[in-house]
Subunit: 501 residues, 2 copies
């Protein structure tokens, strides 16, 4: 048998078992009985160990070498490249370090929950020091094997091929105008009327109906996926079994619906991946930045646009206000929806931040995590650096660490290198949306009529169907004619928030 065939069989098995792992995560967050958490954790750990063994099987390096000399087509070659990347990421880190980091991460997350509740960063410090030290070891181990700089080796887990020098370029360009833009937007906003109150409640069952309606319009295939409630919205699964979750609150539909739009963007990507390569590495989503670009393109670019809001307005009035008329003084008017959907504030909490300030939160975290890992910032100085950075980038400083450096879970369990993908995704989303508009100038009218098919078809072709054939930025270049382009994102923000397009 050719080495490539053996690799494809081996990774096909890994892909199927990894899909089961995804299902277990969904189960844990949606239907698992409360008392079954320990059993479920043990099952998940057994599967994870097994996947690690399969990904580090001793014969793989030789098979990969031999496959290089075989006659392969472009997709097969890209598949081998993805396999190699996975194998070396897995082999790079010695098992005791994997175990130590997992243990330290679990303990640090527990300590963090308590420290956050009591606003006590000092109490967290020893645990977090331990995690950071292990992440440094991990980055160094990967760096050596992958021939990358340590931080780049971490980035490569989430966004293959991305280097910090490129992130610096992009984020520095963004930081050069974003604080000023935030100020301009807020100044303009203060001169205008604020949103009208809804005057009604939002029954959860009705919000679910609205969610299903929006998902259907967006092209989510309910024969190949589900929507369920959970504590935190997420998208899991892939191929013909993509499951998203939502959380609804009685006093507003906005957060719930936007999260559904966001997760549907992720789900469309998964449902649109190339079926011929299902369960193979090259058939998976390209990276976290591109994945986020798909969720943000749907949530931010499309589902906060005036055409979408003009489709949404009568749906809202029908479902929540007995079909009230959409007069200018109605809270369901498109103008009022825009006021709600485009509210910008210098807020302290990243996950609650709006489209304009969110990237400032991310740039701060990116700069801090590089400094922490690189040793330029001692961990004990993190709270101060956080406050300074917030003032500089967002224009407001947290009064305590709970609303400052204790707000995110990421670093606590050892996740470093992930934060930048949020904003790289936002930038990519702006570019992809612009390119789709260029190819289909009728998009806004279609969306206003509840027809997302032209947009989704364009995404299917230029993003979803590409799997992991290209690197993230190469795919972006092929789809839009440019690599990451902060200018396009800036233009989008200025159009929407300074000119009100």
């Amino acid at each position: 048998m050719k080495a490539y065939s053996a690799l494809e069989a081996h990774f096909g098995r890994i892909g199927r078992l990894a899909a089961i792992e995804g299902l277990l995560h969904w189960d844990t967050e949606t239907v698992l009985p409360a008392g079954a958490a320990a059993d479920s954790g043990e099952q998940l750990a057994a599967l994870r160990t097994l996947l690690h063994e399969l990904e580090t099987a001793p014969q793989l390096p030789e098979w990969l070498d031999r496959a290089d000399d075989e006659a392969l087509d472009e997709w097969q070659r890209a598949n081998v490249q993805e396999m190699r990347r996975r194998v070396w990421h897995q082999r790079a880190v010695p098992a005791p370090l994997v175990a130590a980091l997992a243990r330290a991460g679990t303990e640090c997350v527990m300590a963090w929950r308590e420290a956050r509740a009591r606003d006590d960063f000092a109490a967290l410090l020893p645990r977090l020091e331990g995690v950071v030290a292990l992440v440094r070891e991990r980055a160094a181990a990967k760096a050596e094997v992958l021939c990358l700089a340590p931080y780049d080796a971490l980035l490569d887990e989430y966004e293959p091929g991305l280097h910090a020098v490129r992130v610096d370029e992009v984020f520095d360009a963004l930081a050069s105008f974003l604080p000023g833009l935030i100020g301009d937007v807020i100044e303009r906003q203060q001169a205008r009327p604020g949103p009208l109150p809804w005057g009604v409640g939002f029954p959860l069952a009705t919000q679910r109906v609205l969610a299903q309606r929006v998902m259907a319009v967006l092209g989510f295939d309910f024969q190949r996926g589900r929507l369920d409630p959970s504590t935190h919205p997420f998208c899991s699964g892939g191929g013909d079994d993509v499951r998203i979750t939502a959380r609804w609150r009685e006093d507003s539909f906005v957060e719930g619906l936007q999260a559904v739009a966001h997760e549907t963007g992720h789900a469309l990507y998964e449902q649109g991946l190339p079926a011929a390569w299902r369960f193979q590495p090259v058939g998976q989503a390209r990276g976290m930045a591109l994945h986020e670009s798909q969720s943000l393109l749907i949530e931010m670019q499309a589902c906060r646009s005036r055409p979408f809001l003009s489709w949404l307005a009568p749906q809202l009035a029908e479902l929540f206000d007995a079909g009230a008329a959409l007069t200018a003084s109605s809270p369901w008017s498109v103008d009022n929806l825009e006021r709600v959907y485009r509210r910008v504030a210098r807020s302290l909490i990243r996950v609650d931040a709006d489209e304009v300030t969110y990237p400032a939160h991310v740039i701060l975290r990116y700069r801090l995590e590089r400094a922490l890992l690189g040793g330029g910032l001692p961990l004990r100085e993190l709270p101060g650096a956080w406050r300074e950075g917030m003032l500089e980038l967002v224009g407001v400083a947290p009064p305590d660490d709970r609303q400052g450096c204790l707000q995110d879970i990421h670093w606590m369990d050892g996740t470093f290198g992930y934060f930048p993908t949020y904003t790289l995704g936002a930038i990519s989303a702006a570019q992809l949306h612009e390119a789709a508009l260029g190819a289909h100038p009728e998009l806004p009218q279609a969306i206003a009529a509840g027809d997302f098919q032209p947009l989704v078809r364009w995404l299917r072709t230029h993003v979803h169907a590409q799997g992991s054939r290209l690197s993230g930025e190469a795919l972006l270049h092929a789809a839009t004619g440019r690599g990451l382009d902060v200018g396009c994102f800036r233009a989008h923000l200025e159009r929407r928030y300074l000119r009100g397009d």
Copy 2:
């Protein structure tokens, strides 16, 4: 490391992965999107293959031999014995035969669905011949390795240690009086008034409330399990995550509720298995006969008893008939519930059969499957043999094969040796119930007051907590002082159906 420790680690991993397999089955039957069946099947197949590899790992026979010479306690020794049984069952059958039977079974099930719809046994014949031939090969392969007779080797998969000579003894004793008893019961029944009609409908949501109420009374721990709707009721999972399903129809609560009681019996067994041996072979349920004894003890012995019906009657009137009074002429009276719950009929379909005639259906299938595998009955003569057997055992013959030998799925996918466990379970249930009553004469009063704790505690101690420490019949002997005892089952049927106790 001691060989035993290595075995425990290895089988602990198998147990956790097998639990995941159970979860995938639950997922498939309850929440899986329609379009995801193929993906899910591939994932399940990958996991199954992996489990087979782990169970046939080459080092296991040597570890098992070495463990025999190590100092082990009683549970550890029983654990090794269960491991050995599993390993040799798995190793006995060559992989090509496993694959051939799986393929032939799938194709035969498809052909069977069509043949049943068209009442065309002849069209099924070639496929079923193929399956039977492969099952014979499988039985022969297992017989050689396990040093058992071929049919006993199949029995041993479902009820370890059980031999056909014992089943013959038990079933012959049963067949010697059952047809006569059926006649007597029906004669007595015809002389008495039939059930009154309900006069109301049974909303599904209310039936679900009733099911949850009954499950709670029975001692089902909802922190460690779930209830969901599905097409066919089943119980899956184990330990702290036991999930049962139910099916409800609008025109009667009886079938739905009894299925819930049945599956709750299975679930109590799983929730009561020894936590210290979770995921180990000795910590699993003993066998299918004993498992069925737990479901039938709850469904038949307890939940068709007069004390239970007297607890149930006011619940029904409250939930479905606005709290109607339980007068003698009310359909909710205990007398009327008894008439409904104890209706006996010479029916054609096993799964719809009552407590009295069900064993006759099983004896027929057991005798036929032995004759089919042994070669004494050519497959083409099955329809005739079925009709003769039904006349002899149940007292009625099917007018077509659809209601005759085409009704069950079991043989179609190669399941031979399973049928007897249904009735061995019913016999065991009668014995265990009698023993529990002997130890706790207050049981009927407790149940009438909605208190199943004395019964469930007795089962916990004498059955559930024993895991697979003993063989099925040895456990029965330890719990009741006797092996399988048809006389006890006969006495139960006569008390309930001839004397109306």
